[in-house]
């Protein structure tokens, strides 16, 4: 509505006479125009890159709150200290287990929910509207909500499930529980992405193979899955990358404990840099996590590119 009126206004504007050709703007000005538009964003980018670079510089120092007066360059000894510490490798393992399990569960459930919602169904169309609710709540607030439910004495989960005083956030159960909360929040993310993907698929191949008498499973395996794969991969990339740097709801639920059972890399870095005020050590943790994220991203994006090309072939 509003767009048409403004278009209308644009057309009614009296055009200056003798100027039916493009206005004579010098070529250099025309070429500079996009740069001019992008300069503010570039400035912000540089201002954000500055702390990034500073963080990388910290890894080479012995910068901590206790010795701000006499900071010196210590070379790679931070890396040596971190890479030889058991705490770091425990955090790496926790992070990887968290990321792999969470992403796998959410992908399977998300694709399943998307396929169930894609079927015509009364209940489905009602559910679809409320599907995203957990996704839109702040993960930190979701953490608070689940901590109330997990409470072993009067939490509602133990009451409803009849589990007595089951300890959801004990040392053997905490990792499972924080993954459960992640699944609760983020499975809808996978589901709505995949659902949008499934809906955008062409119908002809399915109709053709239905006429040929192909089974539902055959159609799913040979047609739907290859064509859906790029959408699934986009969701997997987002989830896996976010899980590697997971912090919010885990910190609220357990603060990394009990012990170090849910100390992911970003929580470990938080403890080193903010709680113990050892900025250099925290920065080193973060730098290594960043490297892990970067390598994973490069790999997953190349897989996505291949899948997109293959899906384009499958649709021909």
């Amino acid at each position: 509505m509003t767009t048409t009126t403004s278009e209308h206004r644009a057309r009614q504007e009296p055009s200056p006479p003798e100027q039916s050709r493009l206005p004579a703007v010098p070529a250099w000005r025309r070429r500079l125009w996009p740069y001019f538009l992008a300069v503010p964003a570039l400035a912000v980018t540089i201002f954000i890159l500055y702390p990034f670079a500073l963080s990388a510089w910290y890894t080479l120092l012995d910068y901590a709150a206790r010795n701000t007066g006499s900071v010196s360059v210590v070379g790679l000894s931070n890396f040596q200290q971190v890479l030889t510490s058991a705490t770091f490798w425990t955090a790496v393992r926790t992070t990887l287990v968290y990321a792999v399990v969470t992403t796998a569960v959410e992908t399977v459930l998300g694709v399943g929910i998307a396929l169930l919602l894609y079927r015509a169904s009364r209940i489905g169309s009602v559910f679809e509207k409320v599907l995203i609710l957990p996704l839109m709540i702040a993960p930190a607030i979701a953490g608070v909500l689940w901590r109330l439910m997990f409470n072993s004495q009067f939490g509602v989960l133990n009451h409803v499930l009849g589990l007595g005083s089951f300890d959801w956030l004990g040392s053997s159960t905490a990792l499972f529980s924080v993954i459960l909360v992640d699944v609760w929040i983020f499975t809808p993310f996978v589901a709505i992405l995949v659902l949008a993907g499934v809906r955008s698929l062409p119908r002809e191949p399915f109709e053709a193979s239905a006429v040929d008498g192909a089974s539902w499973f055959y159609m799913f395996r040979r047609l739907m899955l290859p064509m859906m794969w790029p959408y699934i991969l986009v969701a997997v990339i987002f989830r896996f990358m976010d899980c590697l740097k997971i912090f919010d709801h885990v910190y609220v639920l357990t603060a990394g404990g009990p012990g170090t059972t849910t100390t992911t890399l970003q929580i470990a870095a938080f403890q080193n840099s903010i709680v113990f005020s050892n900025y250099s050590l925290g920065a080193t943790y973060m730098f290594l996590l960043w490297a892990l994220v970067f390598i994973t991203a490069r790999y997953l994006v190349s897989v996505l590119g291949k899948a997109q090309r293959r899906a384009a072939g499958a649709e021909d």
């Binding site: 504007e13 459930l109 079927r119 004495q153 609760w184 709505i192 949008a196 239905a210 903010i274 920065a283």
Partner: protein, 289 residues
């Protein structure tokens, strides 16, 4: 629309269809029960908060307590001030991102200029970079230059959340906009700037609204930035809600639930208004529906 269509070979009211609906039901019980529970808990009195489950006498008192001085005295969390701080700093962050991001998104969506891809991917990488990598140096810098625990400091650091979202979503909208309209405007004697402001901008207005609201939601929901870069006076809503369970002393689960509900409501309402644009926004323009 598409939801009403049957898949090829699918029939209504078969045992399989009923089974599928049951499976969906299981998920939605799991998905919605915690939210229902949050509402119930927020309606309980302090006397009933730990002794009852589903049968109790509901009251709305918790909401007014949370927002009042009395709630601050009881829990030592100044919720109202956190609410104000969240509204101002998130609104400010989105505004800055729009003013700076819209021209850049237009430039990158319309032209391929030298370095445009590098700039776009650097901005996208902010979305995936571990937050502490930026926060640790900023924590040191903010303490030195007096930006610690200020709204300005928050607006600045929240650009990491809002800027990539705004630029990437809007770039995909500008890319979809046919160039002919602006060309026609140029032929009518418009300058480039007027063609951008009067022709291109109004056409992507739904995209701008969706990007702005989604950016606001994500800024509102962010936790690690305000957790570290604010103290007592300018902490945001997520920090405040989490603090209800933090300290010692008596726990007020009912007040916690009321606060959590107030904090969760704005994103929920905003998300439902932009549901059509959500997929495109959440995937940074990668999936268009």
């Amino acid at each position: 629309m598409a939801a009403a269509e049957l898949m090829p070979g699918q029939r209504r009211f078969t045992p399989a269809a009923v089974g599928a609906d049951l499976l969906l039901l299981v998920w939605f019980v799991f998905s919605l029960f915690p939210l229902l529970w949050l509402v119930l808990l927020s309606l309980k009195t302090s006397a009933e908060q730990t002794s009852t489950y589903f049968a109790f006498s509901p009251t709305l008192e918790n909401f007014s307590t949370v927002l009042s001085d009395q709630g601050t005295r009881l829990t030592s969390v100044n919720f109202l001030s956190a609410l104000v701080s969240s509204v101002l700093s998130c609104g400010g962050a989105v505004l800055v991102s729009l003013v700076i991001g819209i021209p850049a998104a237009y430039a990158a969506g319309r032209w391929r200029f030298r370095g445009s891809d590098d700039l776009m991917f650097t901005i996208l990488s902010f979305r995936f970079a571990p937050e502490l990598m930026v926060i640790v140096p900023l924590f040191v810098i903010y303490n030195q230059i007096g930006l610690f625990d200020t709204k300005l400091g928050l607006v600045w650091v929240l650009q990491l959340v809002t800027m990539p979202l705004v630029i990437w979503i809007l770039r995909s909208y500008f890319e979809d906009l046919p160039e002919d309209l602006e060309q026609a405007a140029l032929l009518d004697g418009y300058t480039r700037r007027r063609a951008f402001v009067m022709v291109a901008l109004p056409l992507v207005r739904p995209g701008i609204a969706a990007a702005a609201l989604l950016a606001f939601i994500f800024a509102w929901n962010s936790y690690i930035f305000p957790l570290i870069l604010t103290g007592g006076t300018n902490g945001t809503i997520t920090v405040a809600v989490a603090r209800y369970l933090g300290g010692g002393g008596q726990a007020y689960y009912n007040l916690t639930a009321a606060a959590a509900l107030i904090g969760a409501l704005p994103p929920l309402v905003l998300a439902l208004t932009i549901q059509r644009y959500l997929v495109r926004g959440l995937s940074f323009g990668a999936v268009k529906s």
